[in-house]
């Protein structure tokens, strides 16, 4: 399977080499949030923390806006972004609702409906 022949799946970003290259600084910062000390440091001084990891302007703006789709567009990988979301106490339903433009209740109802 080559990237060229892979079908485009709507609403889905395949995290491949191109995304990994683009998103490295952002993902590296998010990986650092495995440490409680680093999470606290981010909360204390978000600007300095983002600068330390060399986020580009697009990544910085996406983080500032807490906008998951923009973070993914800037190369963020959802597994690492989840660690950033954890700082703001956002669950994967909260993140799902944000990305799909639904209320959290409507997003949860959609999940339940998939089981019918």
């Amino acid at each position: 399977m080559t990237r060229q022949s892979a079908p485009l799946i709507p609403g889905t970003t395949i995290f491949d080499g191109e995304a990994a290259l683009k998103g490295y600084a952002l993902n590296r910062m998010c990986f650092s949030f495995n440490s409680a000390e680093n999470r606290a440091e981010f909360v204390r001084n978000e600007d300095a923390y983002c600068a330390r990891f060399g986020l580009d302007a697009r990544q910085r703006e996406a983080v500032r806006r807490r906008n998951v789709l923009a973070m993914i567009d800037a190369g963020g990988n959802i597994y690492y972004l989840a660690k950033l979301a954890g700082i703001f106490d956002l669950s994967v339903q909260d993140i799902g609702a944000q990305q799909t433009g639904m209320t959290v209740e409507a997003f949860k109802a959609k999940l339940l409906a998939a089981g019918k």
């Binding site: 399977m1 892979a6 079908p7 799946i9 709507p10 609403g11 889905t12 970003t13 395949i14 995290f15 491949d16 080499g17 990994a20 490295y24 993902n27 590296r28 998010c30 990986f31 949030f33 495995n34 440490s35 409680a36 999470r39 998951v68 789709l69 993914i72 990988n77 959802i78 597994y79 690492y80 972004l81 989840a82 660690k83 979301a85 954890g86 700082i87 106490d89 669950s91 994967v92 339903q93 993140i95 799902g96 990305q99 799909t100 433009g101 997003f107 959609k110 999940l111 339940l112 998939a114 089981g115």
Partner: protein, 280 residues
């Protein structure tokens, strides 16, 4: 000689860890999910495996994008779970079986699976939660463990066919081990779910049920899917089916079903459980 008693494939959703930590197993949201594991507990109490060889995917605890192995085998005396950043209480540590790990590594490389070897390896929720689901309670773990991590973070991921063949090579290696051990294979993750993008929340019940059928009786039927197809049919994170296929590959062609359970949703995920016993 060592003997593979069977395999358990199970979802590993982080929220399950919180439910266990908070004792929510009897709550209405959780009861239908946790009840599915009773039959597996009864079976494990009878077969009493000595070792669990666990195919799982690391979500950014031990491995980062600086060095991302496609297949990594633990070879440590002990594996520790740790803070993953979003509030799941850590599960402590798990005993290793380093002599068996090295036998496995020797056999796999001889079979042209050039795995990464890890004498230090943190194991994340994808390893720890299935352990807690299979052996609930507060006592010491009744099995030693060998973790085998498969990259599902960064594409290109290994193909379904390759993961199945890895499982076959693991099965052959384990059954050639000279110690009288009973071994359980575990595959973790899935089933269909997608966390990211405007397609977040995607679940495909028909595909999941078909996969559980095929895994039982005709696993090769699933090895023709490309990872792009698996993303499309099962969601971005539904590619965790790769670990189920690896686990199935380690069993004999003929198996009997101990338990099959499916529940939607746990968090954003269609939760699946499949326990298969090896034919003699």
């Amino acid at each position: 000689m060592a003997r593979i008693v069977g395999a358990v494939a199970t979802s590993h959703v982080p929220l399950i860890g919180k439910a266990i930590a908070c004792g929510l197993q009897a709550e209405p949201y959780w009861k239908p999910f946790f009840d599915g594991y009773r039959a597996v507990h009864e079976w494990l109490a009878v077969v009493r495996p000595d070792v669990a060889v666990i195919f799982y995917n690391d979500h950014g605890l031990n491995f980062f994008l600086d060095k991302m192995p496609t297949f990594a085998v633990g070879a440590a005396e002990q594996y520790r779970n740790a803070d993953e950043g979003w509030g799941l209480p850590a599960f402590g540590s798990f005993p290793g079986a380093p002599r068996l790990s090295w036998h496995l590594i020797e056999s796999l490389v001889a079979a042209e699976f050039d795995v990464t070897t890890c004498q230090e390896m943190l194991v994340d929720h994808a390893f720890a939660i299935p352990m807690a689901l299979l052996w609930p309670g507060s006592g010491p773990w009744p099995v030693k463990t060998v973790p085998i991590a498969i990259n599902t973070v960064q594409h290109p991921l290994p193909t379904a066919a390759r993961c199945f063949k890895l499982g076959q090579a693991v099965g052959r290696a384990l059954e050639a081990y000279d110690e009288d051990l009973k071994i359980l294979i575990v595959g973790t993750g899935g089933l269909s779910h997608q966390l990211e993008g405007t397609r977040a929340g995607f679940i495909n019940k028909d595909f999941d049920l078909m996969c559980m059928d095929k895994l039982t009786h005709d696993p090769r039927a699933l090895t023709g899917y490309s990872n792009a197809q698996l993303v499309e049919l099962a969601g971005s994170q539904g590619v965790e089916l790769l670990m189920w296929l690896a686990a199935r590959g380690a069993l004999h062609a003929s198996v009997s079903t101990i338990q099959r359970h499916y529940h939607i949703p746990i968090s954003n995920t269609a939760a699946g459980l499949l326990a298969l016993e090896n034919s003699a």
